[in-house]
Symmetry: C2
Subunit: 427 residues, 2 copies
């Protein structure tokens, strides 16, 4: 059962929201035509921020980790999407190999892995777990918080294929974002489907490349709806070589913060928005909410203390942060009870399969909510899927979140095509 949201944005929806709701058949047809040309990146979760005056995706995760936060009622939708995926990729398949993150002692993450296994089992596959961790040399049991047990097994490379002992999969699904680099064992797998593709991993991918594709998608979409793309597109700039710990490259960051704040200020003025602009400075290849900072003035960077610099200098798996994206901050106007909230949309294939609110009681509307202390409140699915009007006085803004999530999904599809190392062969 999906609980009703205790409180959320319930005021009259603004013009942008109204336009998106009214244009549903046009929007869905536009997506259909886009998906005829582009392949979605298997699965994806997108953080959306709704400022009231603007709504935009701010982070697109190609190795989503929160499937455990989807409610049982959302499961059938994920299973149906998984069935559609299998049919397209290899309908004759019996086996799916899932490669999770190595730090597999986190109970929440393990619950996510278990949920993914359930989804693909229900879609009709035998699912087993393979580990990229060299320390896993034999089948290893991991105890979950609910008492159940997951078994990870060592990967076996045989020429062009990856196997487990007595288990030859057709598809290898990564739920490991490859922050630590692309392992050799995953290279040159020409006989199996490895999804998402290697260029989706943080060893290769950058947020700025993603938001470059998103800008392209946002412009196309905005043209169809006859609106200013800025209303759905977060502006961004980037710096290629920054070391917060050593204090090098900070001038580049300051210059871009300054320039971006100027650009935002002009847009705010154009729309009569009185809020104070801010930007988010974050790792261009980071994840897990690490290495993220809210900046309201370029001068703030002068006074960064050692602790803040150290916090900004490493991201996941001990990787040093060096490339930085400076992104327009989009305040979130959603609240659950007294806490600041932002919608997170989950997709498989081209379908929205669920969503929840990330809620944080100790963060402001201009801060990153993906940090310790966050909790998750499910969204009502029927709304997320697009019932345009729930009741006479209750317009549905959940459909809009699904649209924004899918725009970011489509951008990831453009991005994967643009960064595909094989692509030049076909040019």
């Amino acid at each position: 059962m999906v609980p009703h949201l205790v409180t959320s944005l319930t005021g009259p929806i603004n013009e942008l929201e109204q336009r998106i709701l009214e244009s549903m058949p046009v929007i869905e047809r536009w997506f259909r035509l886009e998906w005829m040309e582009h392949t979605p990146p298997f699965y994806c979760s997108v953080d959306v921020r709704n400022a009231g005056f603007k709504i935009a995706p701010v982070d697109t995760n190609l190795y989503p980790g929160g499937f455990n936060n989807l409610t049982p009622d959302m499961l059938p939708l994920a299973v149906q999407a998984a069935m559609a995926l299998i049919e397209k990729i290899c309908p004759e398949a019996k086996n799916l190999l899932l490669i999770p993150e190595n730090h597999t002692r986190n109970h929440f993450y393990l619950a996510n892995v278990k949920q993914l296994m359930t989804i693909f089992h229900m879609a009709g596959l035998n699912v087993r777990l393979g580990s990229l961790d060299p320390a896993v040399t034999q089948p290893t049991d991991i105890q979950l918080a609910d008492g159940s047990v997951l078994t990870t097994e060592p990967l076996i490379r045989e020429r062009g294929r990856i196997k487990l002992k007595h288990f030859d999969p057709c598809t290898i699904l990564l739920n490991n974002d490859l922050s630590a680099g692309i392992p050799d064992i995953l290279r040159d797998l020409h006989e199996q489907y490895l999804l998402p593709p290697l260029q989706a991993g943080w060893a290769v991918r950058t947020k700025s490349r993603h938001f470059q594709s998103y800008e392209e998608v946002a412009k196309k979409f905005s043209k169809v709806l006859g609106m200013d793309p800025w209303l759905i597109n977060p502006l961004f700039e980037n710096c290629p070589a920054v070391d917060f710990a050593e204090g090098t490259g900070l001038e580049c960051v300051q210059n871009h913060v300054d320039s971006l704040l100027g650009r935002i200020r002009r847009k705010y003025k154009e729309y009569g928005i009185t809020e104070k602009p801010f930007v988010i400075v974050k790792a261009d290849n980071g994840t897990y909410g690490m290495g993220i900072m809210t900046v309201r003035d370029a001068k703030d960077l002068d006074s960064l203390n050692r602790r803040s610099r150290n916090k900004m200098s490493t991201v996941k798996d001990g990787q040093a942060l060096s490339r930085v994206i400076i992104q327009e901050g989009v305040p979130t106007s959603e609240r659950i009870e007294d806490s600041v909230a932002e919608p997170v949309v989950y997709m498989m294939d081209r379908y929205v399969v669920g969503g929840f609110y990330r809620v944080h009681g100790e963060r402001g509307i201009d801060e990153n909510l993906n940090s310790p202390g966050a909790r998750f409140v499910p969204m009502e699915l029927a709304r997320l899927m697009g019932q345009p009007q729930i009741g006479p006085a209750e317009p549905n803004r959940f459909y809009m979140y699904g649209v924004l999530g899918r725009l970011a999904l489509l951008a990831a599809s453009y991005e994967m095509e643009a960064t595909d190392p094989q692509a030049e062969q076909y040019d």
Copy 2:
């Protein structure tokens, strides 16, 4: 919200159910391979009867009329399946023309039509209603019980296409079972998709042809699972020319009732089943639960009174009953509170999108429940989709109902291929 079933079959599941649950990946793969060769008939609802010792579909409706009985939580699944359908049939489509039944004053049926319109609207199409009723010569409003209004419009035939005024659809979806015959306006539509195909209408289709295909499907499926097909297949025989009102052709019915009861008796003996066998005599091309009779002994037919004969002599739209199917009766062991219940499974494309129990307080376990006084209790969707075990003491028999529904769906696909008037061109 989908309510929990107040009571349902909660005893230990028997061997058949256990085998189906354990074989989930094998079963799903088998369906995937079948769907590579066969196209499902757009949408479908199937009445399933679970006797405990046997479980079988007993009626397969290719123009399902109860979408209004699906809960709001099931809607997203139907929308996702509709999206997949549109993508396959005509992804560039903007418009869908829906042709409902003519007797459009029934509030329950109208709620079904409205629900179908909502599903296809949410999937991204403009949906309008066209009427086969010659009395509809201009747009006509129909008031629904909830106060909303549906508008039906006259169909316009232009050479190879059907249109409404200012509305040119890519696909025409029939929710009219054509009991009254195939109207000329629907023939030879070579430029548009007319779904389901004309041979799905009761003007052409027979139940015995369907169950002939179902037997073929049940045999294939049973071979995969290594079991006796009878455990999922209702035996049947048929008579081509019967007139209950005039009393002609009854000898044929009596002979087949006798022979079928004998066949069932032998199977009951083989499995040590102590229940008393019965058969269902019903119109071979009927619908709406009309013209259906439970017979426990061939002699019962001697003593049919005038009222019973008249009841058996007409089916929907005043069509005379002449072809009769005699089908093995499958008692239902499901109960909701004190009432006899049977599961009904809804599908779109190849996907189970919902289901409910048809419940009747005044009928026995060996009687047709599709009659005035029936009510509908939703099933829990997560179970229907196949979560193999809900709790340690609660095995999931809902997955099995979804499997049985899809076996009948697949049989309908075989049936449509076998009865396709165009098919010989490709032989």
